[in-house]
Symmetry: C2
Subunit: 239 residues, 2 copies
Amino acid sequence: METNEVELPRVLQQLWGREGPARPGPKPTFHISEIGAAAVRLADAGGLGAVSMSKVAAELGFTTMSLYRYVEAKDDLYVVMLDEAFGKPAPVDEALDWRGRITAWAEQLRDALVRHPWVLQVPLFEAPLSPQQLDWMEAALRAFDGTPLTPNDQLSSMMLVNIYVRGTAQLTAHLRTDDSADQLYARRLAMLATPDRFPAIAASLQSPGQLDIDFEDDFQDGLDVVLDGIQQLIERRKK
Amino acid sequence: METNEVELPRVLQQLWGREGPARPGPKPTFHISEIGAAAVRLADAGGLGAVSMSKVAAELGFTTMSLYRYVEAKDDLYVVMLDEAFGKPAPVDEALDWRGRITAWAEQLRDALVRHPWVLQVPLFEAPLSPQQLDWMEAALRAFDGTPLTPNDQLSSMMLVNIYVRGTAQLTAHLRTDDSADQLYARRLAMLATPDRFPAIAASLQSPGQLDIDFEDDFQDGLDVVLDGIQQLIERRKK
DNA sequence: GCACACTGTGTGCGGCGTACGCAGACCATA
DNA sequence: TATGGTCTGCGTACGCCGCACACAGTGTGC
């Protein structure tokens, strides 16, 4: 009888704690999650660029090449970092309706991205399969419990919110570190977007309230637009 | 009298054709857009990783260091590449309503991203100011002509659609290159997302129609959800 | 107690971005 | 037309990076 586990990459096996027991040779000095934590520390402090195999190894008091006993390539390190950075999502509040629940989820996700902005720069080539990422996925899906959304609807709605949060986080990432950046941008835009070639842009620059951005309000407003769309889908499914 | 132009970085000045005329010394052999085109060619063929200063220079028959006469750093090269890759958006079709127009815009954007998937991997730290990117921005804003949306509404609605397209493109990018990837993912997910810890995920895996993904349909459905949200905003603004 | 799989180390390679100094080309001015 | 100054393009070199590979030591299962 074959278990036939659609074999996972080694990193994922380690993250899921699927280690074969008791093998010959010396015991590993630490768990990959410690490597991930060290890498996250570096990234938090100096951005993703500050994360290199040698720096991570140095952080742990090891040589560069030791890391390759735990990780097959740098991409694997990224996987571990992501899993480490997100942490566990707060449990779903059953008292709220779906809108309140998914909003709380979105805010949590946003906060995590603000705490670890480098997450948005991590080049990823595979869909998420690490434990904590599935926890987040699970939490989002549960927010739609009790709605008439089909499983597929729930999945795509989650993706929609996920995409929204990541997208806005990316757009505002550089503004958060430099307050004057948006004003400089507005002035440059005003200079380049001449009314003859860019009437619509020029017009939007005329409008007031352009210069004081409130991240919190903008985030909520945009999210509400997305959720309004999902709400319509829910109404449609009710019939 | 000071022109006081909120001085642009040199790359942008070159992209906008704001060159000071007639200076001593030999004439530049080419324009940065040629460098950008060469880099885009490399990226299209071998991904963003295939783009290095030396490779681009070789593509043009030049030495590596020559490029630094046109570009201050590699990040500048990315700016040029992006401007080059997007091209000009098709003119807005006045016959359509806002929904038809922004849909057409979104489809165009998606097609551009499918043609140049590496765009999604380009690390960017500044808001777009290059000519063609402003063209795209302008086109999107014009789609909302005639709606009661305020300029700020239009801006955030555009961002919403932009974010949606980029997000979905990112998610489906790796699926397009490998048809079996999603099935492998589904099987791995089924193995890891046990009903005790991940009931919602497990449930959604039970649902039918999971395995045959239709990019086109999924894209349109999700986009419609987003547009439904914007429509509600429009209704609200009407009053 | 023995064999052997496994851990951690050292060396080294190829490639990257780019700082810097130099030769020659070309224009503005005299 | 002669000249001076400045810009272009090139060569060299440096310090990083990810990682292949060979090697020594370690501890478990037989």
